[in-house]
């Protein structure tokens, strides 16, 4: 790659650095693992590679639009490419990003994305998959309970702290 190309890809990355998930405006797209790469396309135009979180996440369209607007505002050429593999996982989230989520009031994903029990399909049985208790993002207590397995967006579940009594969202391990 020529130095000029490298510089132009660098400029694209910089123009996108401030973009966040529209539902979680405290974590950047690259911290969330949605923005996977900025690379040179076959025709020389920079490509911004994003990967969807949940298959049906309605924020993906907004995120692609935000990227194109940021590029246009910076006067840079580029297009958005969606890539499915490797499948997005919350394991990619950095420790710093998890702390930002917590400070925002969302319990970061706790536990790995893969069921940790024996291999084979029966590991999906309900008891093996039962999540351990989630730490409250407000008071740090582990004395919490799940209110509902689904929440306001595809990536979250609703929990409640039994000590400070506050309800909170948990970013589900995926």
């Amino acid at each position: 790659m020529s130095a000029a190309t490298e510089a132009s890809l660098q400029a694209v990355s910089q123009a996108l650095a401030h973009l966040t998930d529209p539902e979680i405006p405290v974590v950047s797209l690259s911290e969330l693992g949605i923005l996977r790469a900025v690379r040179e396309g076959a025709d020389g135009v920079p490509e911004v590679v994003i990967t969807p979180t949940y298959s049906g996440c309605p924020a993906m369209g907004q995120i692609a639009d935000d990227i194109l607007v940021a590029l246009r505002d910076a006067g840079l050429p580029g297009r958005v490419v969606t890539q499915l593999a490797p499948a997005w996982t919350t394991d990619w989230m950095s420790t710093a990003a998890k702390e930002k989520l917590r400070a925002y009031g969302i319990a970061p994903p706790q536990g790995g994305s893969e069921p940790a029990t024996t291999p084979g399909v029966l590991r999906f049985s309900r008891h093996a998959a039962r999540p351990a208790s989630v730490t409250c993002p407000h008071c740090g207590s582990r004395n919490t309970t799940r209110i509902a397995p689904f929440g306001s967006t595809a990536c979250k579940a609703q929990h409640r702290c039994l000590d400070c009594l506050e309800p909170f969202d948990h970013f589900k391990p995926y």
């Binding site: 969807p52 949940y54 298959s55 049906g56 996440c57 309605p58 499915l84 593999a85 490797p86 499948a87 997005w88 996982t89 994305s113 069921p115 399909v121 029966l122 999906f124 049985s125 309900r126 998959a129 209110i147 509902a148 397995p149 689904f150 929440g151 306001s152 595809a154 609703q158 589900k172 995926y174």
Partner: protein, 280 residues
């Protein structure tokens, strides 16, 4: 390598039709948390369907004989090319390849005036039986020789595991609950299990996909599916009455559907067909 078009449509139609069915609960859930749960479940399923239709559309656009076969579908094309919306909104009942199980209403047979009698036990029982299959299917399809299908499978597996847990939890709660919840859960299982027999009678596209390594040999999953189902039914104190199978095997996956799919599609497709060039 690409999976056969009818196999992709089978997988996509399964996801879309069940997603549309479950979305009927949006705003009507028995409790708020379940209203959210079913809306989220539909969002995942429709998201999976979109990825599969996009993949199918690409395949059609890049193959002259497939382009010919789908030439009668002119809606929602982009620069003359078939899109995901062309496939979802402009095919008719007989062109859908989903299992009949997915299109059934949220209740058993009704007599007299067909008032809506949605029964959450039917919803949960179906989601459980389907999720148990799809966990196994997506798990195997991660090794598909169709790379895009393998990528879709890896994503979908994560989502459907969660659906299985959700539906399994509720099935146990209903089955091992009150006298009424037990009766309704048992009725739902008795109603739906016979339709699951169709899983084990693959159509030509499924067999072709299993042959060339883009699909999965569905019969190899049967034992695991039975184990998953039997384990949860036992915990739910529910009984299986479907063995030996009593008779007719549903044919939705070959295009012969129940009377219910047409109504579902009419509702889902009417807007796109009335305003074929609408953008929002």
């Amino acid at each position: 390598m690409k999976a056969p078009i009818d196999y992709l449509l089978h997988l996509a139609d399964n996801a879309l039709v069940l997603g549309q069915r479950n979305a009927e609960w949006c705003g009507h859930g028995p409790i708020l948390e379940e209203d959210l749960a079913l809306a989220n479940n539909s969002l995942d399923l429709i998201g999976q369907a979109r990825l599969l239709y996009q993949h199918a559309a690409e395949l059609i656009n890049s193959n002259a004989s497939l382009a010919q076969r789908f030439a009668h579908l002119q809606g929602a094309r982009q620069d003359g090319r078939v899109t995901e919306d062309t496939l979802a909104y402009f095919r008719d009942t007989a062109e859908f390849r989903n299992h009949t199980l997915m299109e059934l209403p949220h209740h058993g047979p009704l007599v007299g005036y067909a008032v809506s009698e949605r029964d959450y036990a039917v919803t949960i029982a179906r989601n459980f039986l389907v999720s148990a299959l799809m966990v196994l299917m997506w798990d195997s399809l991660r090794a598909s020789k169709d790379e895009q299908l393998a990528a879709i499978a890896a994503k979908s597996l994560k989502e459907v595991r969660y659906h299985l847990q959700h539906a399994g939890d509720w099935l146990v709660r209903f089955g091992d609950g009150t006298e009424e919840s037990h009766r309704r859960a048992q009725n739902a299982i008795d109603l739906l299990l016979p339709y699951c027999e169709a899983f084990w009678h693959p159509g030509p596209a499924e067999s072709a996909a299993a042959q060339d390594g883009t699909g999965v040999d569905i019969l190899s999953l049967r034992e695991h599916w039975n184990a998953l189902v039997n384990e949860t039914l036992a915990e739910a104190t529910l009984t299986r009455h479907d063995q030996p199978h009593p008779g007719y095997i549903a044919q939705g996956h070959t295009g012969i559907h129940s009377e219910h799919l047409g109504f579902l599609l009419a509702e889902m497709q009417s807007l796109a067909r009335a305003h074929p060039t609408a953008v929002w």
